[in-house]
């Protein structure tokens, strides 16, 4: 129990550090520049408190419950020596962590609302929820495949730019045949998925894998996983826009 409380306190401090600069910047602009009172200040303060507590619990829970098992599993699968299970695990890790990513939930919900107002989908709650879920599944699928690809890259020792540069070129080409309303959401989806849950879990797999293979340097080969995870959702969401 002491352990839990100590972690909570540490993570509360970290969440404060995360939130404080934003609060300061907003306060500065409101008070000094705009010279306006914030409307519904009470609700916003409660909401901010809810973010602070939510982030603290969320991150503490991840570190206490999920990350240790996730890392342990990553090591077990690396040492198990079965490529099939390693790749399946890699896919499931990427997929599952993207679905649990709060930033992705928030942005896909907004994207769905904007799409319904813009007449891309029907303007009712059912259509909005469906679109938002499909968007998240598309991104999660892409991240799952990326983690698999990232594992293969580390096993084979390919330089990262061999994957990233063709990826960029692919994004450019697909952009020209995509509907213009999907481009913004697609380009944003890369940054959105690589956040609180995905980054630590996926990095743990990459670094664990690179350190267990002879001739691979965990620092240079272990990184690069996130870059692939940030690139492939762009391609996937562009295709999602074309198909829709």
């Amino acid at each position: 129990m002491d352990e839990v409380l100590r972690r909570l306190a540490n993570n509360l401090l970290e969440s404060c550090k995360d939130l404080l600069p934003i609060v300061l910047v907003v306060a500065f602009f409101q008070i000094i520049v705009l010279k306006q009172a914030i409307p519904e200040l009470g609700v916003i303060l409660l909401g901010t408190l809810s973010i602070l507590l939510g982030l603290t619990f969320f991150v503490s829970g991840l570190r206490l419950g999920l990350f240790p098992i996730g890392e342990n599993l990553a090591h077990s699968f690396v040492n198990k020596g079965s490529l099939f299970w390693l790749l399946l695990f890699a896919f499931a890790l990427g997929f599952g962590s993207s679905i649990a990513e709060p930033a992705l939930m928030a942005v896909s919900q907004e994207a769905a609302i904007v799409a319904s107002i813009g007449g891309i989908i029907e303007n009712n709650e059912l259509a909005i929820n469906k679109y938002s879920l499909e968007l998240r599944l598309t991104v999660a699928l892409a991240v799952g495949l990326s983690v698999m690809l990232g594992v293969v890259r580390i096993l084979k020792g390919w330089p990262l730019q061999w994957l990233i540069i063709p990826g960029y070129v692919l994004v450019m080409v697909i952009t020209f045949v995509s509907p213009d309303w999907i481009v913004g959401v697609a380009y944003d989806s890369g940054g959105v998925t690589t956040s609180t849950v995905t980054v630590p879990l996926v990095t743990a797999l990459g670094v664990g894998l690179a350190s267990s293979i002879r001739g691979r340097n965990p620092l240079t080969d272990g990184f690069g996983m996130i870059a692939i995870c940030a690139l492939s959702p762009i391609i996937a969401v562009l295709i999602f826009g074309i198909v829709l």
């Binding site: 930033a103 107002i117 380009y187």
Partner: protein
Amino acid sequence: MIILESFISMFWDIAPIIGMILIFQLFIIKEKIPNLTQTLVGIFMVWVGLALFIVGLEKALFPIGKMMATQLTSPDFLGKTQLNWNDYYWVYLFAASMGFSATIAEPSLLAVSIKANEVSGNSIRVWPLRITIALGVAIGIALGSYRIVVGLPLHYFIIAGYGIVIVQTFFAPKQIIALAYDSGGVTTSSVTVPLVAALGLGLASTIEGRNPLIDGFGLIAFASLFPIMGVLAYAQIKHLINK
């Protein structure tokens, strides 16, 4: 009440990752879960935390982002009715200061900077690197806001950016490339993403002639692209100086 609703709906969002970890642990690796109580407490905390966080997003972060976008671009505040792109300087300044301050405080960025320092054999220093990345995000979000104000297509900027990154990749020291590419994803935290997204959507719905559907998104793409350029440039300059 809202928190309870959020709590119930979050079940399906965390179920895949937890289910998959349990299945792999129990049936494939066939090991018991070490520290079962701690794991269960952790899972419960993830669940509660996520529910609170999502409520807070809807009640605070999204409204703040949209409100700031509306207030900073209102003709009343700017004291003019005919507005050119350069009249919106407060928006660019707000975007840049938010990008800089949120990034410099980002815990995962510190971790990446320390790794970069190790990889480069101490030639890349932690603080200058953090400032470089934070400046990259600041410039990125400000430029992204400018794009929304003038209504240029997003892919002009991003494709040009990719072009620059590709050229930089050929000249940058090899051991820094993976880390530089990763830095783009690392800077966009769960707090920054919704706020920046709301800022973009707010701008696109307030400024005349802009459509949130076409112009509203894309700020996060800027925030992920510029740190890559920044880290590659910093490593390249360091490399040249040390020669």
